[in-house]
Symmetry: C2
Subunit: 396 residues, 2 copies
């Protein structure tokens, strides 16, 4: 009688959440220190100390009526100006405050953008493995998500498969790099090719395809030699969905932004569509205190060296034990090949060693498992023998 689709969504937790809940129960049974929980992408590194200081300074010095008052729906003008200028200082963009729309984090950035762009029946392409909520967000906006498999083992975009998937009803393509769950950074060459291909496709059908870049992990890259290409530098019809959740370790505070490329022809309509969708979804404005924080903390990041060390330790150990994975360049996930075809069975067996890892099936990619290594280095060290035993259990 009521909305069955949303009831079902509310009742079926994602398997990531399911595993997380199992972990909580298991920790209560055998002790927190005996469960090796690699299920969630919840930052273990605290926000940089400047964040607490800045929050308190803002609370102490701002007029509370203004500080806690509504901002315009797009966000405080001076905050948006700071964000636009910061992006321009890093990339070849010429964004203004009026290209930026402050949001309650990456999920909101995506739902607002998808609701701005899609009409019923439109197709949205993404590259598997992909963050499972893309499907939920796309379907709520009336669209259909088409997952295009990445190249085997490298997890870079497979352009032959992409060409086959593009259709006259493709309205948007979502890229997520550094990628959840593979940790892969899509190469600059890939981004250039992607831009060219979408340009040609848009012209051929006289119907622009929008490129949406979901960027919660942009700042989480571990080698100076690795650059995460900025899609606006390669393609005009592009929208960046950003979040400070991981870069500033503020996932619970819900703060991010949408940047609409002002080089696109339909810029005014797309930006208006973003404003309209934000209004229809009930967002009103992004939390003002955290908007003001962004103005002060633009460019700061948490101490991501912890994740780099975790990556190095984990990758070295797993490789030694016989696991196969792309060495992740970014984010805090490693996507390992399961030791049997059925990754769900593999992840079930991992539980015998108190290891909580998520089957790749949920990310549209069978035969793999995701390890979220945003954990304490101490726990990671203690978990290594369990990974070893899991591998050995397949050699018997």
């Amino acid at each position: 009688m009521i909305n069955e689709k949303n009831v079902r969504l509310g009742k079926t937790r994602s398997s990531i959440r399911e595993l997380f809940e199992y972990g909580k129960k298991r920790k209560a049974e055998i002790g927190e220190e005996n469960v090796f929980d690699f299920s969630l992408g919840n930052p273990s590194v605290p926000a940089p100390p400047e964040v607490s200081a800045a929050l308190k300074e803002i609370i102490d010095t701002f007029d509370p009526v203004l500080l806690h008052g509504y901002t315009s729906a797009q966000g405080d003008y001076s905050v948006r100006k700071t964000v636009a200028e910061y992006i321009n200082s890093r990339f070849k963009t010429v964004l203004t405050a009026d290209c930026i729309y402050m949001t309650c984090g990456a999920a909101a950035s995506l739902t607002i953008t998808l609701n701005a762009l899609l009409n019923a029946g439109d197709e949205v392409i993404t590259f598997a493995p992909y963050f499972p909520e893309y499907k939920v967000f796309t379907e709520h906006a009336g669209g259909k998500l088409i997952a295009v498999e990445c190249e085997d083992e490298t997890f870079q975009i497979d352009f032959e498969k992409l060409k086959k998937a593009l259709s006259p009803t493709t309205k948007a393509v979502i890229v997520n790099s550094p990628n959840n769950p593979s940790g892969v950074v899509y190469s600059e060459k890939s981004m250039i090719l992607l831009g060219q291909l979408l340009e040609e496709h848009s012209k051929k059908h006289n119907n622009p395809v929008y490129l949406i870049s979901d960027e919660p992990y942009r700042e989480l890259v571990y080698e100076k030699s690795v650059r995460v290409p900025y899609i606006m530098d390669f393609y005009a019809n592009s929208v960046v969905c950003y979040s400070y959740s991981k870069s500033l370790s503020l996932p619970g505070e819900r703060i991010g932004y949408i940047a609409v490329n002002n080089k696109m022809k339909s810029f005014e309509d797309v930006y208006a569509g973003v404003c309209g969708a934000g209004r229809a979804l009930g967002f009103v404005c992004a939390p003002n205190l955290f908007q003001q924080l962004v103005k002060k903390a633009c460019g700061l990041t948490s101490d991501v060296s912890v994740y780099k060390k975790n990556r190095d330790v984990l990758y070295a150990a797993l490789t030694e034990y016989g696991y196969k994975a792309v060495k992740p360049d970014g984010a805090f996930y490693m996507f390992v090949k399961a030791f049997e075809e059925d990754a769900k069975a593999f992840c079930e067996r991992a539980k015998d060693f108190e290891l909580l890892i998520v089957a790749g099936d949920d990310f549209g990619c069978k035969g793999y498992a995701r390890i979220s290594y945003c954990v304490s280095p101490e726990m990671l060290h203690r978990a290594l023998p369990a990974f070893k035993k899991l591998a050995e259990s397949y050699k018997k």
Copy 2:
């Protein structure tokens, strides 16, 4: 090509916002002190001093990883428990933490609830005058908003008109008391009648009608003798959409909750629908710092005596000048009868006296204008001669 409905929503500001923007321009032209801006419902009273102290204490004493980390989608358990217990202490409810879903404010509470309940084509009834975004929220959720006119002059529910409007496809009724824009508190008698009527209608069609109470103004009531009835005490199929925006003067921080009545038969489905809709709309969780604040500040309010004084001064003066209005019992709005049939023309003429007030047409009620008196008492005093001149201009 992109979503035209959302583009249009983004381009057409509500006339309230339009007027507010006009006010900003006008203030720049003739000086802030010469424009009497009664357009927006933005609290002028600061958050109580306990709010800043509590925020700083939370920042200083909580582990930042937990404080700024994700909570469960429904909200932090201990916060929800506090909210449920606080509601139970005031009303005849027996809510538990699992009846509460923390949200990013009242608009989010409404969009999530409507998306949980509605299927395409369902009807939602509300009482005119009403907050104009109800239409936007209902339509985005696939429904159709039906406005039922209130009784003339008292602005209480007109039950004869309501009976005619109820249909087999009525899925929900939204009440908003204290009301924006009339300031009227719906009487206990009305709530009892409403409960009985919806009960009968639900039985007759074997299809529950849900009563949604939009309560951002619950704490803004000016006489001890006035009690705002709690719908859960009168009707099982009820959902309360609450916000701390006005009670704690935190409209820009986006914090509120949905309370689902556990006395309804379909409780588990409705609560799951709320969780699913929140997920599909991209809300993830309500801002954690402000969730923790709610735990500490539950029951606190800003100094609403300022609004009461404003009401008394404004009502006495306008009555003396010949205006007609219900004396508002709550919220911070007064809904005055225009001196001509066309309230838009009346509000245009008000601009000649630098008075910014909003035509009732936008609230589904012709012939009236809304005065938002959440302004500084000093500005209100200076504005009175302008109200007088406006009235006199119609006596010539």
